[in-house]
């Protein structure tokens, strides 16, 4: 075994892989969150749909997205493998009485369960939107935006266009016309289902608990535990990844659900 494989398959090396892939997935959440905030824009989904086209056609974004899928799988399966190995390290005879809450938090002890919930969520989430957008049927919508006031009107578009989007300016009426695959509508329709909304909200609790422990744990694994930086890392872990990110994501299905009522 070369020194590199030997390092990456040692107990600390496996944790390093978990930490680095985990932090990459955290950075993805920031991008995903900031992009999806456009769902809240009051333009019938124009900005969001244009963004969706960019995210699925830009070669750099596409390359990174394949890396992302690989890292999700690596993080998930290495995590499950580690959980099984760690369970084995306890031995066949378990404790008769085990008082874990006396010395550690529930979520820190159940990262594998939380992670499994998240893996199921990712599969459901991707089949809801990503798969539909890429391989399913998503109708087109024609947007007309006044260049003077920025006001947007939208109508379903029945014809055929090349690719996912067509954009031009109509000189005579001074409007920007965008014909685009309407992912926004799929999102709106999807979140009319209360069970799906409930599942998304529960999954965001799992995100919160997983990251409150996972974010700072990743830095500990990287060897970063220092009084100068711990306050910042604790704020990012608990505040940003534990509260702001999952609450922001949970608001999206809730927003569409209550809007449809």
């Amino acid at each position: 075994m070369s020194w590199l494989t030997q390092t990456l398959t040692s107990s600390i090396g496996k944790k390093l892989v978990m930490a680095l892939t985990g932090l990459f997935l955290c950075s993805f959440l920031l991008v995903h969150m900031s992009g999806n905030l456009q769902l809240f824009k009051n333009d019938n989904g124009l900005a969001f749909n244009v963004y969706a086209v960019f995210m699925t056609t830009n070669p750099l974004v596409k390359t990174i997205s394949y890396g992302l899928y690989a890292f999700i799988l690596l993080h998930a399966f290495e995590g499950l493998y580690l959980a099984a190995q760690n369970r084995k390290a306890r031995g066949n005879q378990r404790y008769v009485v085990y008082n874990g809450k006396a010395n550690s938090s529930w979520f820190s002890r159940n990262m594998a369960i939380l992670g499994t919930v998240l893996l199921v969520f990712i599969v459901v989430h991707m089949s809801n939107f990503w798969f539909e957008y890429k391989f399913g049927y998503v109708p087109y919508t024609q947007y007309e935006q006044s260049l003077a006031t920025g006001e947007v009107t939208s109508t379903p578009f029945e014809g055929e266009i090349k690719g996912k989007m067509e954009e031009f300016v109509r000189e005579e009426s001074q409007t920007r016309v965008v014909i685009v695959k309407d992912l926004y509508r799929s999102v709106m329709e999807g979140f009319k289902n209360p069970l799906l909304v409930l599942f998304y909200v529960i999954a965001m609790f799992a995100v919160s608990f997983h990251l409150v422990h996972g974010f700072q744990s990743a830095f500990q694994t990287l060897g970063i535990n220092h009084p100068k930086y711990n306050p910042l890392l604790n704020f990012l872990g608990a505040g940003v990844f534990g509260i702001i990110i999952p609450v922001g994501f949970a608001l999206m299905p809730l927003y569409f659900f209550f809007k449809s009522m």
Binding site: I12, A89, R90, S104, R109
Partner: protein, 255 residues
């Protein structure tokens, strides 16, 4: 030993040897003084068992003053019992109430097989130490202490790490039976001091390799080890171990 008035129900793990299956047995002890240590209470129970013609309970103990690292009881779901920063021998019966039921088990880890009752085989720790937890020096007269300046911070930190008595409570507490806190303390105490520098990279590489070989789990940073450690070894040492290991792997001559 002064008689007291505590009556307790003890549920204790009994196991004949490594090969047999063990089980929990229930015993009653009466007249326990709150001033007794937990091990003295076990002495009373063992006297009682001997007078009844039964096999006394085997348990590890030596100095009974919290520094040898021999005692190792998993009491009511926690290593060394309900109090923080002490070993089982420093735990007193005043930490319990009259009429309590107390469950006592051995450390549980694949790498710490039960030898008998509450005694486990902790030679895995010895093998980790032998793999690199030492410094090689040609002995002779000790040189003048002032010739190697060491900052107070480093001296304190190294001393805090060296306080580890190798009892194994970290492994017992960890849900993964990970030995990271133990190994991190042993690596840190040398990594922080000039005497530890010549073998610094080799030490951490070998000790971690041995730790993995023994079948300990990997660290998930739950912090249970540090919370239960009788010497309150800090998690910062685990961060240092990670730094030392990854740094050594990237830069050592060992290919």
């Amino acid at each position: 030993m002064s008689a007291g008035d505590m009556n307790l129900t003890l549920k204790v793990w009994r196991q004949k040897n490594k090969k047999t299956e063990g089980k929990i047995e229930t015993y009653q002890v009466a007249g326990i003084s709150p001033d007794m240590s937990f091990l003295e209470m076990f002495d009373v129970l063992n006297e009682q068992l001997i007078s009844e013609g039964k096999e006394p309970i085997a348990f590890d103990h030596d100095c009974r003053e919290g520094i040898c690292g021999m005692c190792s009881m998993y009491i009511n779901g926690r290593p060394h019992g309900p109090k923080g920063g002490i070993t089982t021998c420093q735990l007193h019966m005043r930490s319990f109430n009259d009429g309590d039921t107390i469950v006592v088990e051995p450390w549980r880890a694949q790498a710490f097989p039960v030898i008998k009752d509450l005694v486990v085989d902790r030679t895995a720790f010895d093998r980790i130490q032998a793999a690199g937890g030492f410094i090689s020096v040609n002995t002779g007269n000790a040189q003048d202490a002032n010739s190697i300046p060491i900052s107070k911070e480093d001296a304190d930190e190294a001393f805090a790490a060296a306080a580890c008595i190798g009892c194994g409570a970290c492994v017992a507490a960890c849900k993964n039976a990970s030995a990271m806190l133990f190994v991190s303390a042993k690596v840190s105490q040398f990594a922080l001091l000039p005497q530890g520098q010549p073998e610094r990279k080799m030490r951490v590489e070998r000790m971690v390799a041995q730790m993995d070989e023994e079948g300990f789990g990997s660290c998930t940073n739950t912090g249970a080890c540090s919370a239960e450690c009788p010497k309150e070894i800090s998690l910062e040492h685990i961060a240092r171990l990670n730094r030392e290991y990854l740094g050594a792997k990237l830069t050592s001559q060992g290919v």
